[in-house]
């Protein structure tokens, strides 16, 4: 039957929407956005800032995300935090493949997004060579505020369906949203002027 085939292919989107199924799909997207559990993939310095985001001051628990699942089977968000070396790339792909759909990837830091300051033989120049990335968070390392901004951007685009639309048209398979760095906002930091005297 056409209806069953449609549902099998596209999920709720396959139904010709009436007001009930439209609301159901919104409910699904709403709950997906609010129950992302990150997988531990901290590699280098960015991992320390990711842990700081999970700490008491920049609390990730307010989004329900303080439980970093060690097992990829239980996680749906992979935050690749740090530089990806050539030896680690197959491991990253294995962990990504072990995660279950729907899954999202945040590339945290410049080394994960593009190779960063290490444009050399040892690093993969951007994890999007290995996994499809949905949000790029710049910074070296991005502070917890930037990471949270990236997470909230991801949540917003899950909730309004933008992420799936972007993924369809993207060459890499990921939504490829870049966010701005937003550090120093809550600590009231003033810029340090070098060589002022």
């Amino acid at each position: 039957m056409g209806l069953v085939d449609n549902v099998k292919e596209d999920g709720f989107a396959g139904l010709e929407h009436n007001f009930i199924t439209g609301k159901l799909e919104d409910l699904v997207k709403w709950s997906r956005a609010r129950s992302t559990w990150p997988a531990t993939f901290g590699l280098a310095c960015c991992a320390i800032e990711m842990m700081a985001a999970g700490g008491a001051h920049y609390d990730l628990a307010r989004y329900g995300m303080e439980v970093f699942r060690a097992s990829p089977r239980q996680a749906d968000l992979m935050i690749v935090a740090g530089r990806l070396s050539q030896k680690m790339a197959p491991v990253l792909r294995t962990i990504y493949d072990q995660m279950m759909e729907p899954k999202w990837v945040i590339s945290m830091g410049v080394c994960a997004s593009s190779g960063g300051m290490f444009n050399n033989y040892a690093l993969v120049q951007g994890v999007d060579q290995v996994v499809p990335v949905d949000v790029y968070a710049p910074g070296c390392p991005p502070g917890p505020e930037t990471l949270m901004h990236a997470i909230l951007t991801l949540h917003a685009s899950i909730e309004n369906g933008e992420i799936l639309r972007r993924r369809e048209v993207s060459p890499t398979g990921g939504a490829a949203i870049t966010v701005e760095q937003k550090d120093g906002q809550t600590s009231g930091a003033t810029p340090v002027l070098l060589e002022a005297r």
Binding site: S114, N119, Y121, A122, A176, I177
Partner: protein, 175 residues
């Protein structure tokens, strides 16, 4: 090299001719550097250990292929392309000592210090991985930092850094 400053190749202090356990050495007031032949390295390290240099802090290699001169080296020692630099420490005397062994391109091997200082196991594997110098008698002469099937030895001067041209990706900015 035209961009090297004129006074850059002058040595800082005139080294005194010196022998440590029969091997030529230099002493610039800060640290003593000994230059044994490759075959004498283990014997020298054993004698130094009896002298009080109980711990080997570091073992690394340098590739002098594109170096215009050479850091201070006694005249009796023939410089080769590679050098193995061993750093020892004497805790009672509170001094460090460096050993520099010349390794020629035609024979990229060096006797291992593993039997005397087991801590050199990982250091020698790193030198093998990044320079291609094998250590005779090492229990596990395999790559340590790079994947096992990597070709080439990256820290050599004839291995390019591997820079790729920067491309701007097709990502959609969102503020």
């Amino acid at each position: 090299m035209s961009d090297v400053a004129e006074d850059a190749t002058e040595v800082v202090a005139e080294p005194e001719p010196l022998l440590i356990h029969g091997h030529p050495a230099t002493d610039d007031g800060d640290v003593v550097v000994v230059f044994p032949a490759k075959a004498e390295l283990l014997a020298l390290a054993t004698q130094l250990r009896t002298d009080g240099y109980w711990q080997c802090l570091d073992l690394c290699a340098v590739d002098f292929l594109t170096h215009p001169t050479r850091p201070v080296i006694p005249e009796s020692v023939t410089p080769e392309r590679f050098e193995i630099v061993v750093l020892l420490i004497n805790h009672s005397a509170r001094t460090r000592l460096r050993i520099r062994v010349q390794i020629g391109e035609d024979d990229l091997t060096c006797p291992t210090l593993f039997r005397l200082h087991p801590g050199t196991e990982a250091m020698e594997r790193e030198v093998y991985d990044l320079f291609g110098i094998a250590f005779d008698g090492h229990p596990d002469m395999t790559r340590i930092l790079l994947p096992d099937d990597w070709e080439g030895h990256p820290l050599r001067k004839d291995y390019a850094i591997g820079r790729i041209p920067v491309q701007f990706k097709n990502s959609i900015a969102q503020g």
